[in-house]
């Protein structure tokens, strides 16, 4: 089973309110990723967890938080949503392969709309 699950599939949030998105996988993958995709743009990596170590991209460092309470779950947290956060949020997971390769499997995404 190569399924990555995301909840909710659709999220409506008010400006200034927090948002918490959930991702889970049962493949025992050691790495979980969050990407942001806006219309007519390519998905962009926001952050990833390798085991318990969080790595955030430099240009999104202060905008997103994440937690990984166990191997299977990973959340993406926005403390105060702004209109610019409206996007599709994609979660992915991977396991290190021989030679350090990382095939990623993606969830269906959560479409966040901030009003």
């Amino acid at each position: 089973d190569t399924t990555v699950k995301q909840n909710p599939r659709y999220k409506l949030a008010r400006v200034g309110k927090p948002v918490n998105l959930i991702c889970s996988q049962t493949m025992n993958h050691d790495t979980m990723y969050w990407y942001q995709k806006k219309p007519n743009q390519a998905p962009k990596l926001l952050l990833f967890y390798y085991d318990k170590i969080l790595n955030r991209e430099a240009d999104t460092f202060e905008k997103f938080q994440s937690s990984r309470p166990n191997n299977s779950f990973c959340s993406l947290y926005i403390g105060s949503a702004g209109l610019e956060y409206s996007a599709m949020y994609l979660c992915a997971s991977s396991r290190v392969l021989l030679g350090g390769r990382f095939e990623q499997y993606f969830g269906p995404g959560t479409r966040l709309t901030v009003l």
Binding site: T31, F48, M88, R101, Q104, Y105, F106
Partner: protein, 110 residues
Amino acid sequence: GDQVEQSPSALSLHEGTGSALRCNFTTTMRAVQWFRKNSRGSLINLFYLASGTKENGRLKSAFDSKERYSTLHIRDAQLEDSGTYFCAAEAAGNTGKLIFGLGTTLQVQP
């Protein structure tokens, strides 16, 4: 920064014909993945290549790290092949970070 240039942005094929999608990379990439977005919007894994070629049914992909490109060939296109195809390259380093192309929207016509 590292970029992935995917072409064409849109492609129309008649059933039974074939074509190729291409991704060019501005720097040396470690590996490439090809995805197809299904009707529910999920990215479906088609190929993962660190080098060489792979084939699966009517699809075949190639990746040349040195020449900085990857291709996805579709032969004998069927109506159900319609959709958006993405390539994503794994950047150098040990993060597994994927850099995506903008996608190719394929329309297969009868």
